[in-house]
Amino acid sequence: MDWIVHRLWLIPATPLLAAGVSALLNHRRRRLAATLAIAAMATALVLSCLALAHAVEHPGQGSPVRQGVNFLWLHFGDPHASGTSLWLGWVLDPLAAAMLVMVSFVGLLIFIYSVGYMAHDENFARFFCFLSLFAAAMLGLVIANSLLLLFICWEVVGLTSYLLIGFWYQRPSAAAAAKKAFITTRIGDLALLLGMVWLYSQTGTLLFYDGGQGCLEPSALSRLAAQTTSLGIAVSTGIGLLIFCGAIGKSGQVPLHVWLPDAMEGPTPVSALIHAATMVAAGGFLVARVYPLMAAYPEGLKGVPGTLQVITWIGAITAFFAASIAVAQTDIKRILAYSTISQLGFMMLGLGAGGVAVGMFHLLTHAFFKSLLFLGAGSVIHGCAGEQDIRRMGGLRRFMPVTFATYAIGMLALSGFPLFFSGFWSKEEIFHYARGWISPWPLYLGVCAALLTAFYMARQVCYVFFGQSRAGVSPAPGAAGGQTGGPSHIAHESPGTMTLPLMVLALFSVVLGFIGTPVWPWFQGFLTGRSAVTEIGKLFEPDVLWLMALSSSIVFLGLGLGWWFYGRRPAMDAAEPDPLERLRPDVFALLRNKYFVDEAYEVSVIRLNAAWASACDWLDRRVWSGAVNLASWAVVGLGWLNRLVDEYVVNLGFDGSCRGLTEGGTRLSGLQSGRVQNYMRVIGVGLAVLVLLLIWGCHAG
């Protein structure tokens, strides 16, 4: 049954083929393009399920089973020297298998959804071509057994992300957002490339697992961990940090998170597929894949490796930071975008504090409920004729019952509603490990972020689905472009191709949590290669119970607060200020403007400058003036004397040198004449001089 291991390349190859063929198709063959893409994705899903079955059938003893095929891609330079070949390969292990199924399953549903969502778009075929290309690259990234192959797919994923964000390139904002996303992630990718080159120069291979020779296997890791760089950190830490920078860029972690909200300019299925479920999770996957490197620590020393500390801190900060911003946003997709950033922060927190299984579990559950939320949001937008401002929605519960029901499930899963929703279990697990970490602060930040998550989701749902319809009322009085007049458009439910994926995703958002509960941690066992034991008693251990109580209470508190503010007395008018805004306008403005990062710098620096200047002014007027006045009389006398010396001695010399400088400048600027042949002459003379030096050197030596 090693058939699937040797045919693993087929999984990315089928969508790639579909992309290639639909790229060559005439753009009017819409139905054919969509059929091709969906068929390819379905094939990939079937193969992925086979791969998962294979991985489940071969449980490891204490460590996961890894099977793969490596092949030589390039051999260059002297064939006898080492480190002159580049190998590529794929590997099937539980991590890859789980990701494969997730990506192809979510991808398939989103493809189906797109048929309905993009039905009226002119460039329908092109859209499916890009989507297929993206799916191929993402699946290739997942099965890669070589950092190089992973990096290639990583870049293709970035490229398709660029293409899809800017899919409606006629809109300047979409074009700008595409560029912003591409360039911002490129910063992280540069670091990733550097890390890769460094790793290659240190180990001579980029294969992850290669029968003991790979760069993630103990021999290489212990060597990397033992060496230190000139900065005093271990080489493995340096490489790990550089690779993590790539993950920061792709997963929108704090310093480089700015592109992800703007990326919502793309079509909603793209937001769901790329900017919620798969691509941004690729950062988490990368960290999980190279986790052994990140966790490498010199033998005989205890402690937490520096890379993991950085990951944990960045994750915790991102989780809180983005969740607080999401509280004050009004664009339905932007709220979800900040929520995604926040959840990615949770994943990083889980990876850093708890290891691969914890982070990956949240990644998986998040992929399902977040794509559900995005697709639901897309359905809402579709139903409201392109409206994205939640203040102008409202009351949609009655018009879009299916969307409402599934959206509510997604919202409860995201908030981590206890016991029955997947988000609860994965988040609880993260808290469990964060609690045992070396610093308590990531846990506190995470708990606050969870509270905020429940709050902003309650706010969003109240705004969108409850109360009265506020369509047709401009959000701010006198705002240009706002629709005027009565409700011009009655919201409607979306077609079946859109609601069906919603329902499937909703189902999985609920049940997926049960494969990783403390009672039956099958998923964690699957990833780490240990068998899971069912222990009902685990649920009632005080430790677990305490945490469950804590997170449940947080969720209830968040949801309750949200209801208190927004659901109790729904806003009647789109122009009505946010209840939170009435309560604390200053804080709200801070959040709505994303913490005023730019403005804050400007204000603080200018204030400081002004204060310093007035202090100097005071000093100048009151203290120094008197003294200066006194001194000045004496100085004037001296000055008169000085003038004589100055004019007749110093100035002559000074003027002379000035004149010399001017003339020299003129002469030198003649060299920079812009005439090519002048430059070539200089080169020619230089050549002659060089050869002369060479001859002289030969004879002298």
Binding site: G674, R675, Q677, M680, G684
Partner: protein, 103 residues
Amino acid sequence: MTPLAAYLLLSALLFAIGLAGALTRRNAIIVLIGIELMLNAANLNFIAFWRFGPNPEALTGVVFVLFSIGVAAAEAAVGLALILSIYRHYRTTNLEQVDSLKG
């Protein structure tokens, strides 16, 4: 004089002729031709060293010349495209009139 020295002298002469042309002619295209001649002179050197060098089975000289020919083709394409766009802008290919450092 050994054959190698003779070839090297020939190539030096060819190089000098190309250089003289590139330095003295006004027309940009002729300057480009001069540069191509210089490149050819260098290629001749490589082949001569390959032929008369101590280990001709290494093929390094030949491979280098092949690559150099490829680069020369790319260079000619870009160079002539530049000359064309300069011609469109200034209506001349005289290098003495094309000395403004800003477009």
